[in-house]
């Protein structure tokens, strides 16, 4: 089995720095291209934040009374939560289903999940009219008939669960061993509680759109929406693990110790096979969704073609390519397909929230995001990347801390 690290031509893996990577890597000066761009984006973000909280929502967005939810909900929230599903899928696979061989993928996945959810809440602060009142549904006046109450509760709880699940890494970095060992003992119940919470809010994000059969296009509206959102989140999570693993193993290869490197391939092939399975199942139940509502005739309309593009191009195709990639052991193909699956999830969530929502409104009244909205989303993602880099280059994520050989 070829053991090289795929298409990225890497010099002989640099031996780990002597102090086990806990020291800061040799820095090539502050003005690396990534830092410059990230700095600019963060400045832009700061300006947009100022505009948002002085001029109100309308100052920087095209949100309107016809389309109250735009890119922040469609992309940052819906897609962010779906792509952060890697956390519970990997943790469940390793701890609950006994797939010890993917052990190396747990910490990066949990980190991605934690950052993903942190960004979702961060984005929510911008989208919600009164961010300081976010705890109101739980403390002041709960509206239990709303699906969003259930989503809010689960996202808040799951953010804490993810934080606790993720906490061993910083604790090892800080050296607080006693607390770290206690956290390690909590891993199993946290994972179980995490999977329960994830099932709930991944499906409930879909259930939120059950209340608007009149506005969401019948091809995307179905009583199965919660099931669709949950199953597609599993596929999204695993695809994101592959995609994020590829990126981090090449960008932060100095952090990766040989053991992780070795397991990385097993993770990619194992997850690719699992994702292919889930995607094919998802394709099946989506076709059932069309059949149950007898919407076959709608496939012949423009929205029907857009639906076919989403289903054939971004669900069936990746499932097929993953299968080929696993059988022929083609790493490059699997990485490309992982990206394709991630884009598929982005497309599906944007379809449900924006593109096929209010499908009966005349084109002139349809929502088009303003560049400032997209700018803010880019700013939020950049903040996430910077945090990711800060954590990965310091804490034992991609490698084990030698002091804790008994590691998880």
């Amino acid at each position: 089995m070829s053991t090289d690290t795929g298409t990225v031509t890497t010099p002989e893996a640099a031996p780990l720095p002597a102090d086990g990577g806990s020291g800061t890597p040799p820095r090539r000066g502050i003005l690396t291209p990534f830092n410059v761009i990230a700095g600019l984006i963060i400045l832009l973000g700061a300006w947009l934040t100022w505009q948002r909280f002085t001029g109100g929502l309308g100052a920087i967005s095209h949100l309107s009374n016809n389309q109250p939810w735009g890119v922040w909900i469609g992309f940052d929230l819906l897609t962010g939560v779906a792509l952060a599903a890697g956390g519970y899928t990997t943790a469940a696979a390793v701890y609950l289903f006994g797939q010890k061989q993917y052990h190396a993928a747990v910490r990066p996945a949990v980190l991605t999940g934690f950052l993903g959810y942190a960004l979702v809440v961060f984005a929510l602060l911008y989208d919600v009219g009164r961010p300081l009142r976010l705890p109101y549904p739980f403390v002041i006046s709960p509206g239990v008939t709303s699906v969003m109450f259930e989503v809010g509760a689960c996202v808040a709880l799951y953010l804490t669960v993810l934080f606790l699940e993720f906490s061993p890494a910083p604790l090892e970095w800080l050296g607080w061993t006693r607390l770290r060992n206690f956290m390690i003992k909590l891993t199993i119940p946290l994972t179980i509680f995490g999977v329960v919470l994830s099932t709930l809010h991944q499906s409930s994000l879909g259930a939120m759109f059950l209340i608007t059969p009149a506005k969401l296009h019948p091809l995307w509206y179905s009583n199965y929406l919660p099931v669709f959102f949950f199953v597609s989140s599993i596929a999204a999570g695993m695809a994101m693990v592959i995609f994020e693993g590829t990126l981090s193993h090449s960008i932060f290869r100095r952090q990766v110790d040989p053991a992780h490197e070795e397991e990385h391939h097993a993770v990619i092939f194992g997850f690719a096979k699992a994702t292919s399975l889930v995607l094919m199942g998802y394709f099946g139940i989506k076709v059932v969704g069309v059949a149950v509502s007898n919407n076959w005739h709608l496939l012949g309309t423009r929205y029907g073609l857009w639906f076919l593009l989403e289903m054939l191009g971004f669900v069936a195709l990746p499932a097929f390519l993953f299968g080929v990639g696993v059988r022929e052991k083609k790493l490059g193909l699997i990485r490309f397909t992982a990206l394709l699956t991630v884009l598929g999830i982005v497309l599906n969530r944007l379809n449900v929230a924006i593109i096929c929502f209010n499908y009966r409104l005349p084109a002139a009244q349809r929502y088009v995001p303003s560049w400032k909205e997209i700018g803010l989303s880019v700013f939020i993602v950049t903040v996430g990347l910077v945090a990711f880099r800060f954590i990965v280059t310091r804490m034992p994520i991609l490698h084990d801390d030698p002091a804790y050989k008994d590691a998880h």
């Binding site: 073609l305 390519l321 022929e328 490059g332 490309f336």
Partner: protein, 532 residues
């Protein structure tokens, strides 16, 4: 190891490209089909389209009916293609020299195979023969005529020989009826003319062939088109000439339309069949037949089946031949426009009448109106005369409008409505001017004059739900606060004024903007000043 990686990369690229191409092809094809379907323009209406189809015999697979456009073929008349025969190349001549309007045959009864061959031989023969030689080859493939989704659609308006057009034809034949009207003489099995029996073609000719009587379509074409062909420039000979409604209505008609003299009485005493007279409860009705003729454009409006008296088919109890419609229902049926009451109801929608009548409940047959019509001799008297009916003219009602019964201060010139004055100044209601306008409308229509005999009836248009009199109750007596549960139907005073006045203005096409009735009181009045 490097080689293996290279061709793996190549394979991956190939696989990706092929997959994407397939997806792109499927979607591209889809968009093309959708665009084509969106581009398809709606079928063009043609008055000269004849859809040729043989009655479908079950179990026999049929091609789509073939589309035949008559006008392009008629235009070939002067060309060599029809070899000088003109219309006769498709319409053979009958014994009397006139054209038969059945294709290549004189009657309809042809079994299916012969009919099919008849059309195919003649049409395709001409298309590939003479037409081809003249360089205008016609369609000869099956699908070219039997078009499943034709771009043309039949749009023939079925037109009616109205009295105006009929009068023009009478003048053309200077009073003789024989050219068109005929009766089938059982004895001689021939069509003969019988004075006094002239009637509408529809009395005998129906939609289908009945014991050798051709259909209305064949009969009309045979009679009208042949006659127009014989006398050039006498009338339209092409389909569009008659079947295009706008063109048909635009033909000149004498004004005023002279009366169609067919021996009908001026005034008729309407009553049940002689033997049923003893069962009649209401007095008979003197009916001014002459004046009614002016209000309708064909006799068929009332004589909707046969040109006979109503009682011939509708007996008191209702007979099979009268569609089980009893005589009383025939005269008073609501919701149809060929009964007396039904027809009067449709007239109430006229602009001059809608003001009041749109508020009054429809078809309310208040007893007070019965005497309006039933003013003829009672059944007992009719029975006594033993058959010879007294002349009805004496019983007709008054023709002119009685002068107003209210005069002087009983009839104010104008009324100032100021109870609700707030944002707008009080409204001055020109009472006399409005009543005079309404009276003029009533006087203009004999129907209205007859029914509004006691003129103060017009007052109940506004002073409704109260006895007519010099001091009608004020609006505010009944209309006060709105939405009182005791009588949810009565609007409040504010709503009552506007619903009544604005409603009437709207239906009688009078101005409806606020300042027409009352000037705005606040500063907006200035801004209003410049409005036309």
């Amino acid at each position: 190891m490097a080689v293996e990686k290279a061709d793996e990369k190549r394979q991956v690229r190939w696989l990706g490209i092929v997959a994407l191409l397939v997806v792109a092809a499927v979607l591209g094809l889809g968009f093309l089909i959708l665009d084509a379907r969106a581009q398809r323009k709606p079928a063009e209406p043609r008055t000269d389209l004849i859809s040729l189809e043989y009655p479908v015999t079950p179990g026999h697979p049929e091609r789509a009916p073939s589309v035949f456009l008559h006008q392009p073929h008629a235009d070939l008349d002067t060309t060599s293609i029809l070899a000088g025969e003109g219309c006769r190349s498709c319409h053979p001549a009958r014994e009397d020299g006139a054209l038969s309007f059945r294709f290549m045959r004189l009657n309809d009864e042809l079994p299916r195979p012969e009919m099919v061959d008849l059309y195919h031989d003649r049409c395709i023969g001409c298309h590939t023969g003479p037409a081809a030689q003249a360089g205008r080859r016609g369609p000869d493939g099956c699908g070219q005529c039997h078009v499943r989704r034709p771009e043309v659609a039949a749009a023939q308006a079925n037109v009616v020989m109205d009295l105006g057009l009929h009068a023009r034809h009478v003048k053309a034949f200077d009073g003789k009826c024989e050219p068109c009207h005929h009766v089938f003489d059982e004895a001689t099995q021939k069509l003969v003319y019988m004075k006094g029996k002239e009637s509408s073609c529809r009395d005998c000719h129906g939609a289908t062939v009945v014991d050798a009587r051709p259909t209305l379509r064949t009969a009309c074409h045979a009679a009208c088109v042949n006659c127009h062909l014989e006398h050039p420039h006498s009338g339209p000979t092409s389909c569009v000439g008659c079947h295009d409604l706008a063109r048909f209505l635009a033909y000149k008609r004498p004004d005023p339309v002279p009366r169609l003299e067919r021996g009908q009485p001026d005034v008729v005493l309407v009553h049940a069949a002689v033997e049923d007279i003893p069962q009649m409860e209401q007095p008979s009705v003197p009916f001014d037949h002459r004046s009614h003729e002016r209000d309708v454009n064909t006799c068929r409006v009332c004589h909707h089946e046969k040109l006979l008296a109503c009682r011939e088919c509708h007996t008191l109890a209702g007979e099979e031949r009268g569609g089980h419609v009893p005589l009383a229902v025939a005269y008073h049926a609501q919701g149809v426009d060929h009964s007396c009451v039904g027809c009067h109801e449709t007239r109430k929608a006229a602009v001059d009448c809608a003001g009041c009548h749109s508020f009054l409940p429809h078809f309310a047959l208040a007893p007070v109106f019965c005497q309006r019509c039933h003013s003829g001799p009672p059944p007992a008297e009719l029975a006594a005369t033993g058959g010879t009916m007294p002349s009805a003219a004496a019983y007709l009602g008054p023709r002119s409008l009685a002068p107003l019964t209210f005069t002087g201060d009983q009839f104010p010139d104008s009324v100032t409505i100021d109870r609700l004055a707030d944002k707008y100044a009080p409204a001055v209601f020109p009472h006399r001017k409005v009543v005079d306008k309404l009276r003029a409308g009533i006087a203009a229509s004999p129907l209205a004059t007859h029914f509004h005999a006691e003129d103060d009836l017009a007052c109940t248009g506004c002073h409704h739900h109260s006895p007519v009199g010099a001091r009608p109750p004020a609006c505010s007596n009944c209309h006060g606060q709105p939405f009182q549960p005791v009588n949810m139907n009565a609007p409040g005073l504010y709503g009552a004024f506007h619903q009544q006045c604005l409603g009437c203005h709207e239906r009688m096409h009078k101005p409806t903007d606020c300042t027409y009735c009352h000037a705005a009181r606040s500063d907006q009045a200035v801004a209003r000043a410049d409005q036309p």
